[in-house]
Each structure stands twice: as C-alpha cells, then as structure tokens.
Symmetry: D2
Subunit: 360 residues, 4 copies
C-alpha cells in the first residue's frame, strides 16, 4: 500500500497541495557516494516549470528545489533525501467562485465523494503541481543512472502529436527537442503547431497530446516476471501522471494490426553485437529489457479547465454550469514531457537496483 510512494528499492514519496505553503519529495533508497547538488536537479525542474512560454500556464513558479537531508559534503549518503519546493504564486481567490462545483473532467467529484472533504484551491492534491516533486526525484534517478551505467544512458521525451496534428518522425532531430516550446522533434511541424495552439487557446478550449519516451543505453536484464515486469511498471508509472489515459510500449495498440512476421523482432549477431532488425517490442521482451532502446508513448487528454461553459452539479447535488477561469495550460501534454522522462528514469533505476539484488 503506497498511496503517495512510488518504487521498490529506489522509492520516492511526494506531498503537498497546489495552494499550500510548499510541496516536496523524499527520495529513499538512493545509492550512496553519488555527487549531487540542487543545481543538478534544477536542470530538469526548469524543463517542467510553468510560465516559461505563452503556451503554458502563466502561474510564475521558480520551482527552486531545496535539499534538506541525505547529502553530506556534496555526496549522497544512502539516507533519505528530502527536497522542498515553496509555492510562490498561488492565487486561491481564483477558485472561490467554483469551490462548491465539480469541474467536469477533474477529480473534484470523486475526491469529495471518497473523502467527504477536499482542498478546492487549485485542485489541492489532485493538481498537476504534484508532478514537480516527481521531476525532482527523476532528476536524481537520472544522475545516479548516468553514474552507474555511464553517459550512454539517456532518456528523452518528445511530443509527437499535438491535438489533431502529428509530426513526421522521419525528421526526428534529437537536439531540437528541448529547444522549442513544444518538445517537438520535427522542426518542420513547429510553426503549424504554434498557430494551432494559439487558436485553441484563443477559443477558450484545449487539446490533448501524445508523448514518446526513448531510453537509450539500458542494460539487458532489467525487469522481473510476472507482476514486476518492466513494461508493467512503466505503464503504471505513466498512467499515474495526471490526465494520462493511454500507454503504449513499442508498437503498442498498433501491434494488434500486425502479423506475427511483421511484429516480432528478428535477432542478428553482427560483429559480436546482438542486433534486432526492428523494435516493435519497445526494448522489452517478457517484461525484461533486451538492450534495445526502451520506447513508450502515452496520451494526455485535453486540459479539463476551459473557459467555455459546461454543465455540472454542485456539492448539494444541484444542476449548474461552470466556466473555469484562472491560468491554465491550453495543452497540459506539453509539460508532461519532463514528467514522463522523470517517471521513466525512476522505474529504470529501481529495476537496475532490483536486478543487482536479485541476480548479483
């Protein structure tokens, strides 16, 4: 049972509400003797930070991580690393008018019925603000894996579908991804995406997205049958991100349409290296990493907080209407990229340590 804890050996626990004084994260099980500083973690934090472009929420948060424990003389000690991020720009007044209404597509209704109480300010605990804590944990996982495996280990995410617009994966340009506000890997799509998203925002609407994650340099053997399969844990991790409704590993849902010949990846030995002729498996066979790139994608639904008027009920069970004002991302999927990367890094480090324990 671990409502707010993720992981088995490398574990993190997050806490905090959108409009509380702070949010934070405890990382437990981090290997000792790894160089680690707040600055290292901040690099990943800045990729998720709101208010950076006109395409994301205008809430201004420095999202500065402060480490409170677990580091001694610049190195991890193997004891829990406590990190805190102060909330600086929460505007609770924006939520006064809707505090008794259940926003469609949000967890307002289910939280209230489950707990009989909820912090309505900015969604409270259900807010995607919680994901800042995950990015902090993921940054640590990434740094540890780069130390344990080497620099060939690399996890990158990209938006491959923005609402109704795809991109051409043949134009994939790794270096461009983090240099445009959409994490788009195809330079040629950026302009169109920009126009489209501005139109969506202007219309008081929102759109969804598909994010693809690639993990390179992952050793063979991570993952464990039957219920700790690597893909099973990745699916769980990605589906735990706010607004995610679908997860694919490799060919994913499309594998249903393939024949056995097309789908299963043939294996070759080429100058002493094992090579697969394709990667429909997404780098995972029987729940265990094969040494190929791990490839996973996930769909983020359109932001539920929109200006356009919608039907709903209130706490007393009366029919009413709602228009959600405030500062919202027209496409929350964009900011899901660093979150997806973070979750992937955490799952991989966890399985790396588990495998070391299990198989030595």
């Amino acid at each position: 049972m671990s409502f707010n804890t993720f992981g088995k050996i490398f574990r993190f626990t997050t806490w905090g509400e959108s409009h509380g004084p702070a949010i934070g994260c405890i990382v437990d099980g981090c290997p000792p003797n790894i160089s680690l500083s707040e600055k290292d973690i901040q690099i990943d934090m800045n990729r998720r930070r709101p208010g950076k472009s006109k395409f994301t929420s205008q809430r201004k948060e420095a999202d500065q991580v402060k480490i409170l424990s677990g580091i001694f003389e610049g190195k991890t000690t193997g004891t829990p690393i406590s990190m805190i991020i102060y909330n600086q720009d929460s505007k609770s007044r924006d939520y006064e008018s809707i505090k008794d209404k259940f926003r469609p597509g949000h967890a307002d209704y289910t939280y209230f019925l489950k707990y009989g109480i909820r912090d309505y300010r900015g969604g409270g605990r259900q807010s995607a603000r919680e994901t800042a804590s995950r990015v902090a944990a993921g940054a640590i996982a990434r740094i540890v894996l780069e130390k344990l495996i080497g620099k060939k280990f690399k996890v990158t995410g990209a938006v491959i579908q923005l609402g109704i617009l795809g991109c051409n994966k043949k134009n994939w340009n790794q270096k461009k991804i983090r240099k445009n506000p959409f994490f788009c890997p195809d330079k040629k799509s950026i302009k169109l995406w920009e126009k489209y998203l501005l139109a969506v925002r202007k219309a008081g609407s929102s759109c969804g997205a598909v994010i693809e994650l690639r993990a390179a340099g992952v050793p063979v053997g991570l993952g464990a049958p039957i219920y700790s399969k690597l893909d099973s844990d990745i699916a769980s991790a990605l589906m735990s991100i706010n607004a995610v409704k679908g997860v694919n590993i490799g060919a994913g849902m499309n594998s249903a349409f393939l024949s056995g010949e097309t789908n299963s990846d043939e294996i070759r030995k080429i100058s002493n290296n094992t090579k697969f002729k394709s990667n429909n498996a997404g780098g995972i066979l029987g729940g265990i990493s094969s040494g190929q790139d791990i490839i996973a994608s996930f769909a983020v639904k359109p932001t539920s907080s929109i200006l356009n008027l919608r039907e709903t009920i209130n706490k007393k069970g009366k029919n009413t209407k709602i228009s959600v004002k405030g500062r919202h991302d027209p496409c929350v999927g964009i900011r899901a990229v660093p979150i997806g990367e973070a979750m992937m890094c955490c799952v991989l480090l966890d399985h790396y340590l588990m495998n070391r324990g299990q198989c030595g």
Copy 2:
C-alpha cells in the same frame, strides 16, 4: 518487491512452469465467510481453457482447479486459499529442437541473459500457461465482489478488433459475447472473423487483437492518489499479461485528438441520480472510480510462435533460423479475454478493500 505476487490487500501469488508437474496460485487476504467452491471457480477457468475450438491451441488441458486450503465447510476463512492445477498435456519433445535458439518476440533471450538459465520447455515460466492461475484468482475476486456489492457488479470482456478486422460496437450484444469462439460482441462480424482467422492459421502466421473490458456496478471512491490510482493499477495489471503492448482507459490514446469540450464528461443530476453525459474518462477521475462503468481496453500482439521461418541467434551467439512448430493459438488475444476480466476483478476487489480500510 513482489515478482510473482499481485495486489495489496487481496493478493495472489502464482507459481509453475508450462511443462512442470503443475501450476498454482495462493490467494491471500480474501475476506472470510464467503461461500466458495471449486465448481464456482471452474466457470471462469473453462472460458480460458485451451483446446475448446479450432481457433485456439490444441493442447488439451482440463484445467481443473483443486483447492488445498483456506475453505472450511464451504466458506472462506480469511486464511490463504491455495489452488493447484495439474499439467496434463505438455509435450516437451516439441521444444527439443529449438532449446538452444531464442524465439523472436519471446522472452527466451532476455530470460537467458538475466538468469543465466531457463526452462525452455514450452517457454517455462514465461508461458501464458501462468495465466490460468490468474483466472482462478480472478474468479474468487469476482465471487467476493458479487457478494459485497451485489449482482449489479459485472465484469465482461470482448474482442473488439481481430487483427485487421474491427467490429461494429453499435451492434454490441452482451449475451452473445460468451457464445462465440471469439468473444465477439457483434454477431454480424463473427463469420468474417472466422474466415480471416482460418486463413491466418493456414498461412502459418498469426494476428493480434484488441480486448475491451467493462465493469458495471463499481461504487464511487475506489482508487487512491497518487501512485495507487485505479487506472494506474489497471494499466499495470493488464500490461502484465503476456503479449500485451498497449492499454487504454476510456477514450485512451484517442483522447489526444479530442478538444476539452468533447473530452471531459459533463455531469447531471437526474431524478436524484448522478449521471455523466459521456464516458471518455472510462469511469475514473483523478484515479478514483466515479460510479460510471469502468472501461479499459488493451492490445495483444500477434502470437510470436509461428511456422514461418525467421532469423535469430542461438545460445552461443551464432546466427540461425527458426520455425516454431507445436500447438499455438493463431491469435492469443482471444484467450486474453477471461484473463483481462480476471485481472480487472482482482484490481477492483483490492481497491474495494483498501478503500474500506482507508475511508471506513
């Protein structure tokens, strides 16, 4: 860490290899005083059983469940329920010729590299034979939920896509699903599917499938933020089934294409009942059940064991070719229906008990 155990309060542990003397399952955390017999469990077992039609593997297994503990005078006692299923028709000789080769699309390569040893007979532990144990556990979960919630609780799965052939969901006929060998909900599709699958088999090939699960009668409030979300646990459960590569909740991957207005389900109070005007959320908001039907779908890749010759390597790292003979399902997706139902039932009961503990 629970390699072969699934669940938190309602937990099951499976064991056994495809060609060992038996396989089995321990169900722990089952509530006491529930009437339960081997006969009750057998109903679900029979739906998964191989050799029932010409569209599934011809391996003949009675899959008769024997209960060894946890039941007293016809009722559960709250202590672990141990179930055993003897393997009766394993033909290990079929695997002699390929014991040193890694079958593409299978876990042969990854198991061998991870463990340095593997039981090659019928895939050993990686065989889908393990899923018989899950169906036994799921049958118990189903019976318990029917007792706790009432008969309105119902979980059914159907194949909605067979390889390249879809079906018309508008023709959905609940009663027909379990009366055709494909678990197809659309009577009009059955004939075509039959022809198609026979052709696939005759060609020595295989095809994938998409299965949709529906759970009706699930109370509001199951699921828990943040890392024990109901959808997160369903995704993990379904992705742990052999050959599954993608999981959707509600609108799933398609939600990326929708606008905020179309996607988020509006809420209405109609004659004192809460009604949603659509169900893109698949019955889950913020990881917690909303009282709507839970809807999840998942893709099963085409059977990797095919007659057609494929390239691979052997244990010594030499290039070679392989043709997998033996008795294989041309579409393993069909038999995934009762397995998906079983996993759904287990997740729901687990969260039912957790919610009872947590929120009283």
Copy 3:
C-alpha cells in the same frame, strides 16, 4: 522495501540528520475528516523534547512541529501530512575531534563500512534525533484512534527499571507517570532513582532502562496471521528504536519459566463481558488482539556516548582511544517512553485500518 517508511495502510516516512537544517515526517494513509492541529501534536512532542530536566541531554530544541500539507480548514483530507521540525541547537564542532573514530556501541563503524560515507555530525541519520519525527507521527495516530475508538483508547508508557533499580509495580499510579522526569509509575522509587542517575552522570557513565507500554481500549480482532501478527509488528516497531535490544509481549521472556497452567489466561463470561483471569498473553492471542490491555515492554541499552575512555579504531583501521564529550543523556531509556508510545499508536492504527479493510 521501506528503509525509512513504517506501516502498511497508515504509513509514515521520516528524513533528516541530527545536524542538518531540519528533520521531518510524511504521514500517509491518515483517514480523512479528523480534526488535527500543530498544537495537538505538540503535546506528545514536548514529552520527548530534550533539555527539559537535568536528567536528559542539554541540547535545547523547541521541537516545534510545522504542518506543510494534508490539512484543510483544520481537518485531515486523506492526503499526505508533511511535518517539519527545524534543528536549532546542533553543535557540530563537538564532533570534529572524533569524526574519524568509530564510537563503540554506535553505528559509526557499520554505517561507514556499508555506505563508504557517513555524516559524523551528531551521528547523522543514526542519531536518536530521528525519533522526534516518530513522535509526531504517533501523535497523529493517537488522535485518530481516539476519534475512531473513543476516549477509552489510551496508550501509556512508563520506565519500570532504571539501570539496576526496579520499581514496585504494585504502587502503579497512572497519573504520576507523566509528572516526574523518569516516567516512573511508583512514587516511592523516584527519589532513589534521582540520586542514582545523578551519580551515574557524575561518574561519566550511563545506564539502561526497561519501559513498559500499556494500550487500553483496543478492540478485539486487530492483527493478522501469520507474518503480520500484531505482536510481530510491535516487536519490529520497538526494536527499530535506537538502542533497544529486547522486546517482551505480556509475560515475555518470563513465560519460559511458567507452567501451562500458570501461563495461559483462563476466560470467563461475567455479566455478559468476556474477562480473562490473567494477562500473560499481553492482550494478544495468535497475533490478534483479544480485547485485553496490550502490554509490551522493551529494554534500552545504556547510552554509548560516555566520557570514560574506551578503546576503538579509526577510519584508517588504526587502534586508538575515545572519550565522547558533548551533551548526552545519562539514560536514553527515559526519553524512549514517548517514542515507544508513538510506535505503539502507529502499529495499532495501522492494524485497525487493515482489519477494517480485511474484515469489514
């Protein structure tokens, strides 16, 4: 795996080092809608606080708990409660001179060999300062149980042995326990204990203690076979407290000397109430609470940090000697009373919630 997390449904995770900026605790799985304030928690905190009498460490810590999340309008919301306690009076300089030596009886040697690094300042993570976080978690558990069970629920601890001096349990006076600096239940022993402990301190030495915990008002049925027995979890909880080396349930180690007739508690129905004629079982039969008072006792070894010179080795493996200066409790056992109470409350609430989930 949960190095720094305790519990199953009601879970807490602690973090922080003795001489870091702060320590803290995340409580997860707390039931919703319970009135809770920092003030409520502070009552228990003050019982553990150092510097209150001349018989404990002179380190001055206000040990003021600040709640950062999980409370809304004065009530728990079911989301994680993050608490922080700032370190105010750490004097790291005291430890400079011994930073390369391993203090006998402390974890200096084992931490260093396990992790290859350790925060030597005040013992770092191995310091009993961590237990302040436990008391905060325990205070919440106590409040929740009082709400769920009623005021008849009561956990109290007392020192029943101070070094070589026992007390007369026949003089047990519940009300006196928290009114003397030794948590001694026998008024007549206090004076002698005072003299004894002053002499111990003056001699630059230290002594151990035995603490007895009593939990009244615990309902029948808490605990679960086989490996989640209530006594098994209590033993684990108490043995996890710094310096604890022995745990008894009921008659404990003495039960070895009793005959079957003397030991097993006979049962009587008296005016419709179930009564036991004795309580050698300590209120637990087969790992499950019987409705009698839960009684557990534990031994705390003498403080290892003493002035008197001792032999040891340093980080380089050279033989050396050590005298530990600084501000140390002559008997850490005294301050273990509120910690023991806290752990008992956490175990009981955890099992209360588990039982509710399991048996409805």
Copy 4:
C-alpha cells in the same frame, strides 16, 4: 500488506491448515543457478519433524517436501519455487469435543471474533504445523547463503533454558546440539532435562523454553536504517513464530542492567582484522551487521494444550471447562529450534540481497 508472506526480495508465502490435505510454501526471489534438491531441504525438515522422540508430539508426519516448480535440471531458475507437504496423520476426531470451546492460550477466541469462522481441527491455520513450511523456506535460504558467502556461514540454534532449568553456557558444545532431543548445548544438563520433561508430561502439564540462535560468517553491512534494521526484522521474524513472547538481540533485556562501559563493545585491530572485545550488541550496530556473530534469543511459552482442566467459555458465550487431549508437545520450545534457524536464514538472505541491490 503481507499476511502470509515474509520477506522483501527473498520472499516466501505459506498456506495450509493443520488438518487440510496439505500445507506448502512458495519461495519467490531466490537467486538463479543454485543447485537445489528435495533431499537438501529434507535435512532441515527432519530436525523439526514431530514424532521423533518421546519428548515431542506423537503425530507421525514424514514431512516429505515435494518441489513443484522453480527448479530446472537441478538448479534454481529465479522463478518461484513451490513446495508441498502432504498431511498424513491428522486426527480431526480428537477435536470434535472441543470444537465449540475456546482453548485458553490459543487463538481460538481471537480468530473466531475476527473472522466469524474458524477451522477448529487441530487449530487450523493457527497450528504450529504452518512452521514446517518455514523450515522448507529456511533450508533454501541456508543453501543459497552457503553458496554466496561460503561455508563459513553457519546458523545454529540451541535450547538454553527448558522451563525452570537453565544450562551452563560455558560447557557449550556445538557438535552435541543436534545429537540430543533437546538441542541442548551442554552435555551435563541433558539428563536432568530429560527427567524434568518426563515429569512435566506425566503431570499433564507443559513448560516453556528459551532458544538462542547464532549466525556466524555474516558479512558487515547487512541491514538498513531505520525501519528495515536487521534486528528489527529478526525480532519480527522470531515473534511471528507460534508461542514466542520475547526476543533479545545480544545482551537483550539484560542490557538495561549494564553500565555504558560494560555494554558497548570496544573495537580493536588485531593483525589486520577488526575484533570486538565483547558482543553485547549481538553483532548488530544501528541495525546493521558488524561482522561479529549475530546472536538472538527468544522465549517460547509453555504449550497451551494441556490435559489439566481449565476454565473457558464457548462460542455461545457460556462459561465451561476444557481439558485438551490429543498428541501435544510437552514443550513446543524444543521444536522451535529449527524454526528459529529457518527464520534467521531467511532474514539474512533477504538482507544480503537487499544490500547488494542498495550498495552494489
């Protein structure tokens, strides 16, 4: 939550009732490529087996372990090892007369109130028969540790107190322990113990015992702060054994009486080896193994099933009397020796694997 499962990486789950068809155990997380046979396991099983001498229960059980999975060509594969032990000599009729009465000192009363149902035959699940499964798991743990650490690894238990009779630990003779029916380490005590126990049995009574466990060859670094301390896990493991009421690590409860100087073990470097001048810590400092022998002892209460008449109530809440006939051990503590060894081996292997995962 793991009612019937023990361990974190090396995990075992037991099932079965005293008078059911069989009992059994699933071992999960066992490292691969370890030679293992039923014969190896049987050695430990035979030490616990009833009916071997006139000093234990006359129930005749071969306690023959049958392995059903997880072994391939004589070696572990890393997949779950399922073991089954058939019950052969259960005499349920013995229990007919007392099926509605709650035996004092047993879990009859608490099981019935918790679950509302119980298998009264031989105590059902609460029977110490369950411990046969633990011995099977422990035998595997022992074999794995001998492979991983080498033959210097050795866990042995001995009865050091039989009821009111102690033994002289100065006469400790390791080789004699397993050659007398009492697991007594002091040859000179055996005769007296024999007379005493025969008298106890003849009187229709029973007595308790204290067992001491010693683990030699344990590497430094096993155990983890704060709530996975090695001693905390040992305490939990031993307290989970039927009838155990007290657990000591090293000096244990006696450490309360010692001074800081006497208690804390001084450290010396002698010809490049780290040596401790005493072992009051029982080989564990701050929850982590120090390389010294791990020493733990535990008290087993006298058998509650005695012939002599006792007062109790029945299921209807009426006062009544009971005399428990059948075949009972006059001192269950004796047969607790191999069970204690088994639990110790399991805890140590679990921590060995955890430490490998955590610290590489």
